[in-house]
Symmetry: C2
Subunit: 155 residues, 2 copies
Amino acid sequence: VTDAAPQLYLEDLVVGEVERFGRCVVEREEVIAFALRYDPQPYHVDDAAAAANPMFGRISASAVHTFAMTSRMLAERAAFTGFRPSAGLGMKEMRNLKPVYPGDVLTVETEITEARRSRSQPGRGVVTQAVRVYNQDGDKVMEFNGAMLFPARGP
Amino acid sequence: VTDAAPQLYLEDLVVGEVERFGRCVVEREEVIAFALRYDPQPYHVDDAAAAANPMFGRISASAVHTFAMTSRMLAERAAFTGFRPSAGLGMKEMRNLKPVYPGDVLTVETEITEARRSRSQPGRGVVTQAVRVYNQDGDKVMEFNGAMLFPARGP
């Protein structure tokens, strides 16, 4: 990870700010390998089982894998924006909206929805962002809200 | 995936039913490899950066990785219980409660919190379960609520 951009702090974040970034090509071999290891549902790893499932029709990425690819795009943002959380706190309302297929190209949109001081940890903030994942057709394939601890400049 | 147990249907599920299962040993090499690929935060991949982060102290698994390991334990359940969803719909309220360290041994507890017919898809149900992940000390390290489509016997 190249960490070129200087660290952002809680005081730098603006609620409502939207960013679009990332480019992740979904690879068939990786889709199958990831699913075999972490989400071995027949419809993620076997062409015939996928064809028989009317929700998918053909092999699609596990939502866990889509979440992981999104996580990578979010982490890559750090290098060019300095958006580096101290730790992830959790997520709310992850929705799997459309299947993600091999060959798809994913991008991310984030929106800061909350940026406040931590009540329990002086010197840190709690930041919440909406994360939306789109494919090359502009279809939203996944969305969630992520909460994280974020460094603050002062107490 | 060995699919020995016959498929469960919506009609077989009982709200409030709790199951405990799974055993996943967290491996240091896998923690680092997963984080390098999908969540390259310095504190997940570098001993010195992890030691400097007061939230962690030493290298810990990415929450995305813990979620993936949990997903595998949930999928393995299918072979011995027949609990095989048609598709995942999403999640609510994932909380990362404690760091997950190499050497930890994770297990899962699930509780069915809702099991109803789908309004849009006859012949399918919508099932929600609470998922709680524990380490070898009995500490809850992660929890979330997962929603899925589930096959039903009749319309």
